[in-house]
Amino acid sequence: MRGKVKALLETQDLEVAYGRIEAVKGVSISVTEGEVVAVLGANGAGKSSLLKSIYGLVAPRGGEVRFAGRKLPPRATHTRIAGGLALVPEGRRILVSLTVDENLRLGACNRGDTADLDDDLEAIYARFSNLDQRRAMSASTLSGGEQQMLAIGRALMARPTLLMLDEPSLGLSPKLVGELFELLRQLNDEGLGILLVEQNTRKALQIAHRAYVLELGRCVAEGTPTQLHEGGKIEEAYLGQDGAG
């Protein structure tokens, strides 16, 4: 366990429902500064709904979300970004009618201070040389892996203290998945907190300090990767699924 105790992000008994279907049934998780936390579980376990309600894309039915000591309003994503919480959405959600450069700049559209925006942009280009070469081109010309880099770079433009990623490895080749997780580890080494929703359990547990396992909208296990493996909780949660990914 890490020494820091100050929770950066905290949910308390969070409930999300779509009509009469309850997707998240009272989940409490926390992420401390600079920590990598994974949320694992099978399809339909409520992982994405949890992330969406934290980010304000769906209003929770009950419970609350606290970020950096403040209670977050139920909707309004821009308040998250201004406070330092960014999301890399499932499916990357690149804007293909905009250029690579415009996609990145849009990532900074609600951050508090825009003084160093150009410097940050250059830092992103230095990190992702493939994007650098395609600055002025339509984002539709990027490959799947490059689009994921763009989605991450765009989220970084908000200067987050906590980066949330929803199934970032989906649709990437094994080699690119390896590069993606290496990048996440690097970002974490630089101090960035990460909340990762993943179906690729094995990869996620390689970089996570702690993980939560969701099953049918409830948190059924939490702990360090070692604890979870020893307790056999991971395999349990995926019973009937195709193993541990």
């Binding site: 999301l87 959600r93 009618s97 700049r105 990532g107 339509s138």
Partner: protein, 291 residues
């Protein structure tokens, strides 16, 4: 004299450009055909006349007419697009048409259906290039129309707000994820679109010196045609379409007579759509790059 007619056509086209851009903005960004735009055009034209008649100095009358247009457009946004966003897409469309009829009838009740003559506050100013006569208000309209379209394009391409608007145009839900405050930008679209329509109505009143409650409808049909001819959602397409319709209209009066105008304008629309269904500058690829 043909050259003179071409000049007149371009000047008339400038008004159509403004109306076409107003339509293009809400269609391109919000995917919403805002039928209240002719009403906003008419309100601004009628208020130009009414405020001048009240004895207001002309700069104030112009500003007042534009303000009426912007406010009317904002009212439409509050009561149609924002209010009914969750309903089926044709509901805001029909209710915006309701606003057109409402605006027309409010003016009808207040001032009657007669054609009102706008008395120009300044002497009729013309400049001459060789044998061509160009009226200064008309020239100002044309320059203003094209200049404003240029500014609008710069706004859409180069500013953070413009990028936010284009993000909404492509995907409102992705825009929300990126923190674009959709609820703050949508009224901006209506105000900007309303100002374009209001400017058109005000310039129409000053150039053609007549207003009436239904003046918006005919111009709006040509504005929509201009947008379609130019290519939906493309701002420069609206400019090209507007100027083209203005010239065709004036030339058909010159060569034939006034009864022939609609035949040639809408005939042109059909012919262009037959050969290029996306409009002259419309994108035909998979990726639709708007604006």
């Amino acid at each position: 004299m043909l050259e003179q007619q071409l000049v007149n056509g371009l000047m008339l086209g400038g008004i159509y450009v403004l109306v076409a851009v107003a339509f293009t903005l809400t269609i391109g960004i919000l995917n919403f055909l805002n039928f209240s735009i002719p009403g906003v055009f008419m309100l601004s034209g009628v208020f130009t006349w009414a405020l001048l008649k009240m004895g207001l100095p002309w700069p104030l009358a112009i500003l007042g007419a534009l303000a009426v247009g912007a406010v009317a457009s904002l009212v439409v946004e509050r009561c149609t697009y924002s209010w009914m966003r969750s309903s089926d897409h044709y509901v805001p469309l029909v209710s915006s048409m309701g606003f057109l009829i409402l605006f027309e009838n409010l003016v009808l009740v207040q001032w009657g259906s007669d054609l009102q003559r706008v008395v120009l506050p300044f002497a009729d100013l013309n400049i001459r290039f060789a044998s061509l006569v160009v009226s200064i208000p008309q020239l100002v309209s044309l320059v203003l129309a094209i200049g404003l379209v240029f500014c609008l394009r710069m706004l859409l391409q180069k500013t953070q707000m413009g990028r936010g608007l284009r993000a909404i145009a492509e995907s409102p839900s992705t825009a929300e994820i990126l923190g674009v405050v959709v609820a703050r930008l949508v009224p901006m679209v209506f105000v900007i679109g309303g100002l374009f329509a209001a400017l058109g109505g005000m310039l129409f009143a000053l150039n053609y010196q007549q207003v009436h409650p239904f003046m918006g409808e005919e111009v709006a049909l040509k504005g929509i045609s201009a947008m379609v001819i130019g290519g939906m959602g493309n701002v420069w397409g609206s400019v090209l379409g507007g100027l083209l319709i203005g010239v065709v209209e004036v030339l058909s009066i010159h060569f034939f007579n006034a009864d022939f105008v609609d035949f040639s304008v809408y005939g042109l629309l059909l012919v262009i759509l037959f050969f290029k269904p996306t409009g002259l500058l419309g994108a035909s690829g998979i990726v639709r790059e708007k604006f």
